[in-house]
């Protein structure tokens, strides 16, 4: 399937920028399930400083914000040809050993809620990890019901389980924590997804991958209760959202003139994922 993606993020700052950087993980790379036909990142209010591959072999772009700018817009866009690989991303690559994906992070730290979630799955995890990960998907989906507005980017897996509600990112973190609790390496994936009948989306998508001997990394999208197919485009991965975050910022704003009303930073995202039909 050929997908056209247009993803724009606009940050408005509380005042003119004195200095700032944004680390972008907004460039998909070709892999088992996808070939990148064309891709580009364009900026307003910022310039590209460097590009490189990170420790997870994600393509990273560092942009520097233009001093004095009140806003920055990052536009990532391109065309990706996808194939349905039944969620299988393939063998483990890169230089970080698998154990790295078995260790807790701040967002995926395991507590009593995670332990309760995976209770009874231990034997299955050893015998048939693939089936267990499917069962885990169902459990997470029931334990953290998809709902917006109850969590944010700093919500941990345990906190999402306590809230019982969350977005795709929370569900992925709970899945990852659960898989690791069962001794299965797991990681977070950020990317895009074609949604039938809805070209305009509010945000990018996030899901999880678990590692199964013999098959390699396999995707599990808890929010949609499926393994990713040719509607999905992988962009970046890591131990949790923080490693794979599309945008990470460090900004220093000039002080606002005295007497002016205080304003916070605002963020507007527009995302269009379309299927291109052969002409």
């Amino acid at each position: 399937m050929r997908l056209a993606i247009e993803h724009a993020t606009t940050y408005r700052f509380s005042g003119p920028i004195r200095q700032g950087q944004q680390r972008l993980r907004l460039t998909p790379v070709s892999s088992a399930g996808q070939s990148v036909i064309a891709w580009d990142i364009a900026c307003e209010g910022a310039q590209i400083e460097v590009g490189y591959d990170d420790e997870y072999t994600n393509r990273v772009t560092l942009v520097g914000l233009t001093p004095g700018t009140p806003a920055v817009t990052i536009r990532a866009h391109g065309v990706v040809e996808t194939r349905d690989e039944s969620g299988v991303t393939g063998r483990h690559a890169g230089y970080l050993p698998l154990w790295h994906f078995s260790r807790d992070t701040a967002l995926t730290a395991r507590g009593t809620k995670v332990a309760a979630l995976v209770g009874g799955l231990e034997n299955g995890a050893a015998r048939d990890p693939l089936a267990t990960l499917h069962t885990l998907t169902e459990r997470v989906r029931a334990a953290v019901v998809y709902a917006q507005g109850h969590t944010d980017v700093a919500t941990t897996a345990e906190a999402a389980l306590t809230a019982g509600r969350g977005v795709c990112q929370d569900q992925a973190h709970v899945f990852i924590a659960g898989a690791r609790a069962l001794g299965i390496p797991a990681r977070y994936v950020s990317g895009y997804m074609l949604i039938d009948g809805r070209e305009q989306q509010d945000a990018g998508h996030g899901w999880a991958e678990g590692f199964v001997d013999g098959l390699g990394w396999i995707g599990f999208d808890v929010a949609n209760a499926i393994c990713p197919d040719d509607r999905y485009v992988r962009v970046a991965c890591g131990r949790d959202y923080r490693d794979a975050a599309p945008v990470k910022s460090m900004t220093y704003v000039l002080p606002a003139p005295t007497g002016s009303a205080p304003v916070g930073d605002t963020l507007v995202t527009t995302l269009v994922v379309q299927r291109l039909t052969p002409a």
């Binding site: 400083e49 460097v50 970080l96 460090m250």
Partner: protein, 474 residues
């Protein structure tokens, strides 16, 4: 311990050992009272030149003078040749090891190093995985701490690959000695150390990144600032190298490089000799609250725009549990037997070793695996029963956090006391520079001396002093 220690100046029969021949002949010809007078002069000299350091946790002594003893520590040319070979071998192995840890981890795959030593180890930085620093150099500056127990028995006590400090004392000690006893240096031929800053500048420049174009790489020293215990050294080295001394606020990412503020505007930096810890280096990669580093420096680094010395993540090789595997590590990467042995080490993570250590705490030195500076350790023979019992509880609670070593009978060198010369225990930290052009070891290094009679703790933060360290010229 003291009665059996190897005295580096005097043989058991009271004769002077060859290394100290020239020095003793000179000393014996001096008028009485000279060393005493010179000792007072030395202290005044130190106060004037401003070598001080801060002791963490000592509120009453924010800046303290490291005591300097005017009797040199002397090593013969042939002893030094052997030591140099051992140090070079070890440093070669350390760099190969670090490259491997951040790439295929062949040593783990081969079953020679347990993966658990890396798992959960905060000094192992995933951000370095799959990246090779410019020139393949991880440890641009290394300090190898050596102890001696006999004529030919030198052992490595610690590797300092993260940020070895103390080189400014090596330089100032020599300068002080030459100012106090100029004629002594005409009598005894001692190898020079004063060109260390020039060698450091040259070695760092030889590690310039791919983005460097031009005639001469720009080197800057990044300091956390004046409140850091080693600020004096940062300023001193920058000055001696002719490099800029900068803080995080003087740097920013610009034009795909890291640029520093100068009187001529922002100028790109090619090599940064940083004395800021990994965790504070880049708020986008590590501690997000850090204002000591530069946002985006890790991006520029991975893109080939700057050299960071030492490379982030080298601290993993300072870990004392990893240290205990250094003989295997040296053999794995060099294919040779280690020339310099380790001090025998028990890993408390292993049940048998832990049992032995708990039974023998009164005779052992126990250290935290991530510790340094003499903090958080137990010296069994000089500890009370109560202290041993308290430490034993800590050890049982988290055995993997500790290693233990025998209480070594460190060699002694005389210091000058009111009652005349008296032996005190010493160690030696040679400073090693690494670049693609080779490994450069400054002859000698920093001799630290425990000033208290019988004490084995040489750390400056624990009341140790320093001595000028001589390597004799052939």
């Amino acid at each position: 311990m003291t009665e059996t220690a190897y005295d580096e100046m005097l043989a058991p029969d009271g004769t002077v050992r060859p290394a100290y021949d020239g020095y003793r002949q000179w000393l014996d010809a001096q008028p009485p009272g000279l060393l005493k007078r010179k000792g007072i002069e030395a202290e005044a000299f130190f106060r004037r030149t401003g070598i001080t350091f801060n002791v963490y946790g000592a509120a009453d002594a924010e800046e303290r003078l490291i005591p300097f003893d005017p009797v040199p520590r002397i090593i013969t040319a042939s002893q030094w040749r052997k030591l140099s070979r051992g140090i070079e071998q070890r440093v070669r192995a350390l760099n190969a090891f670090l490259h491997d840890l951040y790439h295929r981890q062949e040593i783990v795959r081969a079953g020679r190093l347990p993966a658990r030593l890396l798992q959960g180890n905060l000094a192992y930085l995933p951000q370095m995985a799959g990246f090779t620093p410019p020139g393949g150099v991880y440890t641009h500056i290394v300090g190898i701490d050596l102890v001696r127990t006999g004529e030919d028995d030198f052992m490595v006590l610690e590797d300092n690959a993260r940020t070895p400090s103390g080189v400014s004392y090596m330089l100032e000690n020599r300068e002080t000695m030459m100012a106090m006893f100029p004629e002594l240096f005409t009598r005894v031929r001692v190898r020079e150390v004063s060109d260390y800053p020039r060698r450091l500048a040259r070695s760092l420049a030889a590690c310039a990144p791919a983005a460097f174009t031009g005639d001469k790489p720009t080197v800057a020293v990044l300091t956390p600032g004046i409140y850091n215990s080693a600020y004096f050294e940062h300023a001193f080295l920058a000055d001696q190298m002719g490099a800029e001394l900068v803080e995080g606020s003087d740097l920013k990412v610009q034009g795909g490089r890291v640029a520093m503020r100068t009187t001529q505007g922002w100028q790109p930096v090619d090599v940064i000799y940083r004395r800021v810890d990994d965790d504070y280096l880049d708020p986008l990669s590590f501690n997000a609250d850090s204002v000591l580093g530069v946002a985006g420096i890790m991006d520029v680094y991975r893109a080939g725009g700057i050299t960071i010395a030492n490379a982030p993540g080298t601290g993993i090789s300072d870990d004392k549990a990893i240290y205990s595997f250094m003989p295997e590590i040296v053999e794995f990467y060099t294919g040779e037997k280690p020339i310099l042995p380790n001090v025998p080490t028990w890993r408390c993570s292993e049940a048998d070793a832990l049992a032995y250590v708990l039974d023998n705490l009164a005779d052992l030195v126990v250290k935290e695996v991530h510790g340094s500076g003499g903090y958080g350790m137990l010296i069994g023979p000089t500890s009370s029963k109560k202290e041993i019992a308290a430490f034993s509880a800590k050890l049982r609670a988290d055995p993997a956090n500790y290693i233990a070593q025998p209480t070594l009978s460190l060699s002694t060198v005389p210091i000058f006391t009111r009652a005349g010369l008296a032996p005190r225990h010493v160690d030696l930290r040679p400073f090693v520079l690494v670049s693609p052009q080779g490994i450069d070891i400054t002859p000698g290094g920093l001799t630290r001396v425990a000033l208290k009679k019988g004490s084995l703790v040489v750390n400056s933060s624990q009341g140790g002093g320093t001595k000028d360290s001589w390597v004799l010229d052939d």
